[in-house]
């Protein structure tokens, strides 16, 4: 693999992302909403005379859970299928570059564009919070941004996998949106219903919910900010008592798995496919 080639392809991908209206729209929505959210929680900080970062962070977590998967899944889903449909992928592969280089370059470029988007959202909201004394510890804020970025990478990997498995751009986008719905709503609602009807133990409930990378992100972020999972009731307290600080490693490992495994699967599919 040639690093220069990968970097060049990544830059091309980044430029494409900056031209992609959907991507810009998602970024603008994320920045705007996080800004609005920080304004709203500032009203509270004034009353309390106290850094309301806990609630700001909670609002940001909620926002991230909605928008970041949507952004990363659609961007990932568009990547291969869309270019294949346009014919640019075939043109690219006809050049003396390996499929590994194309894949790595694409992934790197998309990852960088997501980093820009996440950094912009957190950064602008952070300026507002800091100026008006509404923020808490800076380390916690950076931690939250880092975890958000990891979540966006996981969703990007899943999106790219969907793209690699789809023949057409529209199908890939549809698949990505369906997965978004599953991760954000259907999975949790289904699990809530299952917990109520099957009377799951808190341990089973915890581990079933951890299959969802969004829940992994949420718990890791809460653990960062509050240092405990009290917020999550009995299951959170069970997790703290059973695993303690090892939870951080567990969360990181699960998130790494969600980033690496779908990306590898997508690469394998991309290698095997004859029609690209």
């Amino acid at each position: 693999m040639n690093i220069t080639v990968i970097w060049t392809l990544a830059q091309k991908e980044l430029r494409d992302a900056l031209r992609n209206r959907w991507f810009l729209l998602y970024t603008a929505a994320f920045v705007g909403l996080s800004l609005a959210l920080s304004y709203m929680s500032l009203a509270g900080a004034g009353i309390a005379g106290f850094a309301g970062f806990g609630r700001t962070a909670a609002g940001l977590i909620n926002l991230v859970l909605l928008i970041i998967p949507l952004m990363a899944l659609t961007v990932g889903a568009q990547s291969l299928a869309h270019e294949q449909e346009q014919g640019t992928l075939a043109y690219l592969l006809a050049q003396p570059v390996t499929r590994a280089e194309v894949f790595a370059g694409k992934y790197l470029g998309l990852a960088m564009s997501l980093l820009a988007s996440v950094g912009l959202g957190f950064g602008i909201a952070g300026v507002v919070l800091a100026i008006s004394d509404g923020a808490g510890s800076p380390a916690a804020y950076v931690g939250l941004m880092g975890r958000t970025y990891l979540l966006s990478l996981a969703m990007l990997s899943v999106g790219v996998l969907v793209s690699a498995m789809s023949k057409r751009g529209g199908v890939a986008i549809g698949g990505g949106l369906f997965l978004w719905l599953t991760f954000v709503f259907l999975g949790d609602l289904g699990l809530m219903g299952t917990a109520l009807t099957m009377r799951l133990s808190v341990g089973q409930l915890l581990w079933l919910s951890l299959l969802n990378p969004l829940q992994v992100f949420k718990m890791a972020a809460i653990l960062d900010i509050n240092a405990t999972l009290d917020l999550l009731g009995p299951a959170g307290i069970y997790a703290m008592q059973e695993y303690g600080q090892r939870l951080r490693i567990i969360f990181l490992a699960l998130m790494a798995a969600w980033i690496v495994l779908p990306a590898l699967a997508a690469y394998a599919r991309f290698q095997m496919r004859g029609d690209f």
Binding site: V5, T8, L9, Q11, L14, R15, L18, G44, I47, A48, G49, F50, G52, F53, G54, R55, A58, N62, L65, Y91, L92, P96, V97, M112, L115, A116, G119, L120, G123, V127, A130, I131, A135, S137, P138, Y141, F185, G187, D188, L189, L191, M192, A195, L196, L200, V202, L205, S209, L214, Q215, N226, T228, D230, L231, L232, G233, P234, A235, G236, I237
Partner: protein, 459 residues
């Protein structure tokens, strides 16, 4: 003995084992000024004396039993460092143990102690301005930093306590607790079977429970800062079968549960009144057992708690008064309006989120807190009223603006500069990535991919 009280200046600065000798030599009512130095404990004070340390003399225990034992009334101990008690929880080894009335323990610094200050049948005493550091032990093996047992009318004021188990007042009615700072323990302040306490302007931080009131009546909690008390049974304030309680002007922030109320008030005719308190950023603002009644709430602020009010185990809180004289409380999640401009919302505030009702009965569902699925669930319940639960409480006169609060001690400002730098770095990094994407390698702009690759392959 009827000697004339006099002030003795002890002359030997390194008088090991001489402190006991000084005490033995002094006449009742004397004031003994003790110079700096390390004095070997244990010490027993068995006559009315004032012992005043100059430049922090140290009384060093031998790691067995109590360090200073006060067995006579009217003893004052002031300005000492007392350390090195035993570690037996059964014997309740203490740094200072007073078992006679009118003891005054003032401005002492207690370190490395199992129990810090232990008053036992020491009525009308004063514990003021002491600093108490417990031993580095797991919580289950720690002792109480402050234990006041059968000592009515004792003043507890301006003490600082860290790393101990509880500050507990047991069967000690009419004892005010004022201006203390209790942190990193189990129960910041624990009142057991004790009546008529004024608890004012204390800071209770990072304990499992801030203030726990169990079995008694006549409590006034005013202007305390109760913050970040957490853990499996973490409460800011716990009320267990407490009667005639007033909470006014407290800031209850960022606890697992802000106030937990279990069977309070118990006695017929008594009440619990919440007035002008701030409940903010707690995971649960107020948690009550079902069928709690005769609680009165007005002019409180319920701000951005994970859940504002829950009923443990399901049920409702409709038999409490959520407004007095036409003034209710400020709820940050109130969605009503004020058309007539009287600063009171025209629609009642009703807590009837389906998810909150569900978690009251199935607390394990709290796991889904902050998930968008929870919002979807509540939205569905609003859209299809078939699923909407009965309201758990109803505030007939919610306030449109949060009422002003009295000042409380101990809030720190946020680290503004550090946060600003961090935020600006984030924006700068994002813009740098965009910039890096706009220009190709070597500063050249490329029109299409094929050209890009050829250029790099040749170079």
């Amino acid at each position: 003995m009827q000697g004339i009280a006099q002030t003795t200046q002890a002359s030997t600065p390194y008088g090991h084992a001489t402190l006991q000798a000084l005490i033995d030599a002094a006449k009742p009512g004397d004031t003994v000024l003790v110079p700096a130095g390390v004095y070997v404990g244990p010490i027993q004070i068995d006559k009315p004396l004032t012992l005043e340390g100059r430049l922090w003399p140290v009384i060093q225990g031998d790691g067995q039993g109590n360090v200073v034992a006060i067995t006579a009334p009217n003893v004052t101990l002031r300005g000492f460092v007392v350390r090195g008690s035993g570690t037996s929880l059964d014997r309740e080894d203490s740094a200072i143990r007073a078992s006679a009335p009118n003891s005054v323990l003032e401005n002492n610094r207690i370190e490395d102690a199992l129990f810090g200050i232990y008053l036992e049948r020491a009525a009308d005493s004063i514990v003021r301005g002491n600093t108490i550091y417990g031993m580095e032990l797991p919580l289950s093996r720690r002792g109480d930093g402050l234990k006041i047992f059968y000592s009515p009318r004792t003043l507890v004021e301006g003490n600082v306590m860290r790393n101990t188990r509880d500050a507990i007042l047991w069967y000690s009615p009419d004892s005010p607790v004022r201006g203390n700072d209790f942190a990193d323990g189990r129960y910041g302040l624990h009142l057991m079977q004790s009546d008529r306490h004024v608890i004012e302007e204390n800071i209770l931080r990072n304990n499992s429970v801030g203030v726990y009131v169990m079995y008694g009546s006549g409590f006034e909690l005013r202007r305390n800062l109760i913050i970040n008390n957490r853990g499996p049974s973490g409460y800011g304030v716990g009320l267990k079968e407490a009667n005639d309680v007033l909470l006014e002007g407290n800031r209850i922030l960022s606890n697992r549960v802000g106030v937990y109320s279990d069977g309070s008030p118990l006695r017929p005719g008594s009440t619990v009144t919440y007035r002008n308190n701030l409940f903010a950023y707690n995971e649960i603002g107020l948690e009550m057992l079902p069928n709690t009644e005769r609680n009165r709430f007005h002019d409180n602020i319920f701000l951005d708690n994970g859940q504002q009010v829950t009923v443990a185990g399901g049920g409702d809180l409709l038999r409490n008064e959520w407004a007095m004289d036409g003034r209710g409380n400020y709820w940050s999640d109130y969605a009503g309006f004020d058309a007539d401009g009287d600063a009171i919302g025209d629609l009642p505030y009703a807590a009837k989120s389906l998810y909150d009702t569900l978690t009251g009965v199935y607390p394990e569902l709290r796991l889904f807190q902050l998930s968008p699925a929870v919002d979807a669930l509540d939205l569905a319940a609003k859209a299809f009223p078939l699923f909407a639960p009965q309201p758990r409480l109803s505030d007939p006169a919610p306030l449109m603006q949060p009422p002003a609060l009295p000042p409380t001690p101990g809030l720190e400002p946020a680290p503004t500069t550090a946060n600003l730098i961090v935020a600006l770095v984030m924006v700068a990094a994002a813009l740098f990535i965009v910039w890096a994407g706009r220009r190709g390698p070597g500063g050249r702009r490329y029109v299409n991919v094929g050209k890009t690759h050829r250029a790099t392959a040749r170079s």
